[in-house]
Symmetry: C2
Subunit: 223 residues, 2 copies
Amino acid sequence: MQEHLLISKATVDRLPRYYRCLRQLTDEGVEIASSEELGRRLAINPEQIRKDLAFFGQFGKKGVGYYVAELKESIGTILGLDHHWNVAIIGMGHLGAALANYQGITRLGFRLAAILDANPIVIGTRVGERRVEDIAYLAEIIAERDIRIGVIAVPAAAAQSVADKLVAAGIRGIWNFAPVKLRVPPNIPFVSEDLSVGLSSLSYYLSHAVPEETELSDKNSRD
Amino acid sequence: MQEHLLISKATVDRLPRYYRCLRQLTDEGVEIASSEELGRRLAINPEQIRKDLAFFGQFGKKGVGYYVAELKESIGTILGLDHHWNVAIIGMGHLGAALANYQGITRLGFRLAAILDANPIVIGTRVGERRVEDIAYLAEIIAERDIRIGVIAVPAAAAQSVADKLVAAGIRGIWNFAPVKLRVPPNIPFVSEDLSVGLSSLSYYLSHAVPEETELSDKNSRD
DNA sequence: TAGATTGTTAATCGATTAACAATC
DNA sequence: TAGATTGTTAATCGATTAACAATC
C-alpha cells in the first residue's frame, strides 16, 4: 500500500507494458537496459519512461541504466502483482471460458479461486482445474476464499445485478466485460473492457485514407 | 472514404461510445437528445461531445439538440460501420471461440466470413454457423471472400507469422489479441487488445489508497 | 419572443518532449 | 578520467473545458 497522489492514468497504463517488456528481457538473459533500449522496444520515448518511473522512486543507475530484474520486481510491486490476490469469474459463457483459460491471470500472480454461473447445466462442469459453482453461493464464496477481484463475464442485462452482489459480498475491485455502464461505490475500482471500441476504431482507420504512418494509440500502438 | 486530417485517437475512441449510446436511446424510443443528456449518460462533458462531433460536421439543431436516429447513422458512417466488411478469425482456441460467438462483431455490421486454425483436430468442427477451415488456405480464402479484417487469436509465438500471411493476402486491417508487438506495413492499421493491461491497472488501483472518486479512464471510466 | 442548445473560439489544464546538471 | 545515462526541471504541445455568439 504505497502512497500515491495523482498518478495519471496514462502513466499507470504504461506500467504493465514496462513490466511485460522487462519480463521478456529477463527471459532473454538481458541484465541491464537503458531507458533508450526500453523505449526502442516499446515505441515509447525514453524521457517518458524515465518520467513515469520517477513518480515512484529512483530505480536506475546514472551512466549505466536499469537492472532488469530489480526494475521488474519494483514495477511488479507498484502494480500490486506481489499480492497474489484471489479472483472469481462470474459467468461461464464463451468469454468466461476464455478468461478462465487465460494464462495472463495466473502469470500476473493472481489465483483463480472460483468460477460461478447461474445456469444449472453449466454448474458442476469442469473448466481447467476448477468446477463451476452456483452463483447462489457468491457471497459465501467471496468471503470464505478472500476473493478480492470479481470478473464480470455475464450478459449485459445481468451485469449490474452481479456487480451489486459482488460489492455487497465485499469485493475489492471489478474487471468488467459486459458492455454496460456499471454503478459501483466510488471506493471500488473497476476497469471495463469494451471490445467494440477496438473493432469500431479499427473500422474507422480502415474507412479513412490513412496518412503515411498510422499511430493508433499509446496502448494499441505499433510497439 | 471521407477526408480526415489528424483526428485525435482520443476522439476516435469516443465515437463508438457515442454510437452505442445512440443505439440505446433508439431502443428506448428517444428521438432527440442534447449533448447535455448524452454527456450525462456517458460521463463525458457536453462540450467534449460537441467538439468531437464538430470535427466531422454539423449534426445538431441549435436550441433543440440532436436527432438520435440521424446522429447514429452519421456516426455509423464515420466509423465505417456501413461497409459490412468481411472478417476472418485466425485461431480457434478459447479466445477465438469467444470472439466467434461475440455478438458485437455482427451487431456492428461486420460479417464473420471465415474461421481458420492450424490444428487438424479443430479443422472441420462447427463454431456457431461456420466450420473451422485450414489455415493453409488463408491466402485463397482472404482473397476469394474479400475479407478485409483479420482477427489474430493465435498464441503469441504464431502471431507475427499469421500477421505476415494476412498482409501478404491483402488484408486491410488487423485486430490483434496476441500479446506481442506486431510488425506490419504502415498502411495497414491494426488495433491490439492487451487484457493484461486492464487487469494490471486494476491491481494497481486496488493496491494503492484510493482517493475519494476513482476515475479510471476515458474508455474505462465509470460511465 | 424567450429559452434552449448548438458550433466554435479562447482559456486552461495536463501530458509529453526537450534539455541538462548530477553522477555512475 | 571520459562517456553514458539517469533524474528532474523547463518548454512545448495537445487535449479538455469554459465561454459565448449564432440561431432554432
